[in-house]
Symmetry: C2
Subunit: 221 residues, 2 copies
């Protein structure tokens, strides 16, 4: 028994071959500050992923320059060039598959998804939304929160379902609303939390720590 | 100018006569733990109000014994003894007026209000609700939050309108949802925040610091 134990012990001391990093595809429509945060954390060695591709749908989106700067060729799939949402999503699926993407991250992606994309990546598409869901779904969430007069706002990372902003919640962060907040000041405070929340959630997926049971999501140690 | 200034200064040094404390009427249907917290803070000199009356609608409610213990005669208005919601509210209005109530606090009041009550106390009725409104309005808010799988829950103090859980928000507190939370553990954590939030909001009203502008509520220094 003792010698067997020793063999097992010595085996566990053999360094494992480096695990392949999870391959991420990012979809973005605009400025790309959340994309930038992922890039920066990967570069700093804080996030064990490989950003395999960046897809954008708006030729003017600043995110394209950020991707190029990071050495990731940006892929433009202009929704106006497709005859339907499904056709756009089919092109997205093909691009993601070409790059062997395992997890899709919507970081300010302003297009509604269809079954075409969701079917190919079940429980593998994340979105970040600037509210504490289920409050203030849809567009202009921060404006909605200010108009409603809430005292606590925030942001959510969730799995994408056909219904907009409605999938299981992976992580949320609360942000206080201050009395003199404008859209600009509140949005800035929420974005600062997004920059922490999204990489954290992506990291949990990369480490295989996310467990989905119906609507409730558990993160293992 | 100097002598005038001195007069003004000396005037401000004259002690003001003690201000009459704002008279509060509490409506409760159950255990009354939020009522108890108000009682305790008044007793400790931390809350400059006078609890003028406690109205309850359920003969079995433990809040009645808490009121009696605190030297406040509990007033039972059993909704089953009234022919309509409006008739119940009319009796509530009369009780509140008899006790010269200036601010109504619903602390676990499980009856829908009507125009009869709201009309008599415009912007003078507070409710505490165990969610971050506008999420999870109505009954069983904590169960709704657990079922949805949110990672941040909380509680809200708001002004009462005809629509359930829909008035301007005075104060909110966020509460983390933990992975192994049950109804019991999450409710306990939310209640601890309620015990701070409701007296704080009542104190702001008593000090005249609440300013309502449409949906947004500002608290002055």
């Amino acid at each position: 028994m003792r010698s067997l134990l020793r063999i097992v012990e010595s085996r566990t001391n053999v360094p494992l071959p480096p695990q392949p990093k999870m391959r991420i595809g990012v979809l973005a429509s605009g400025n790309g500050s959340n994309f930038q945060e992922l890039v920066d954390q990967v570069k700093a060695g804080q996030l064990p992923i490989k950003i395999a591709t960046l897809i954008y749908n708006n030729p003017d989106a600043q995110v394209a320059a950020r991707a190029a700067q990071a050495g990731i060729t940006p892929v433009l799939l202009d929704h106006r060039q497709f005859t339907s949402r499904e056709a756009l999503d089919q092109a997205i699926v093909e691009t993601l598959q070409t790059h062997k993407v395992e997890l899709v991250v919507m970081a300010g992606w302003m297009r509604r998804v269809t079954e075409v994309l969701i079917h190919q990546f079940p429980d593998q598409i994340l979105n970040i939304h600037p509210s504490l869901l289920p409050a203030f779904r849809g567009a202009k969430a921060i404006e909605q929160a200010l108009d409603y007069g809430v005292k606590v706002a925030g942001c959510s990372v969730h799995l994408v379902r056909l219904e907009v902003d409605a999938g299981p919640i992976i992580a949320q962060a609360a942000v206080p609303v201050l009395e003199d907040d404008t859209y600009k000041t509140l949005a800035e405070r929420i974005h600062q939390e997004e920059y922490k929340l999204l990489p954290q959630a992506v990291g949990w997926f990369a480490q295989g720590r996310v467990h989905i049971k119906g609507n409730r999501v558990a993160i293992s140690e």
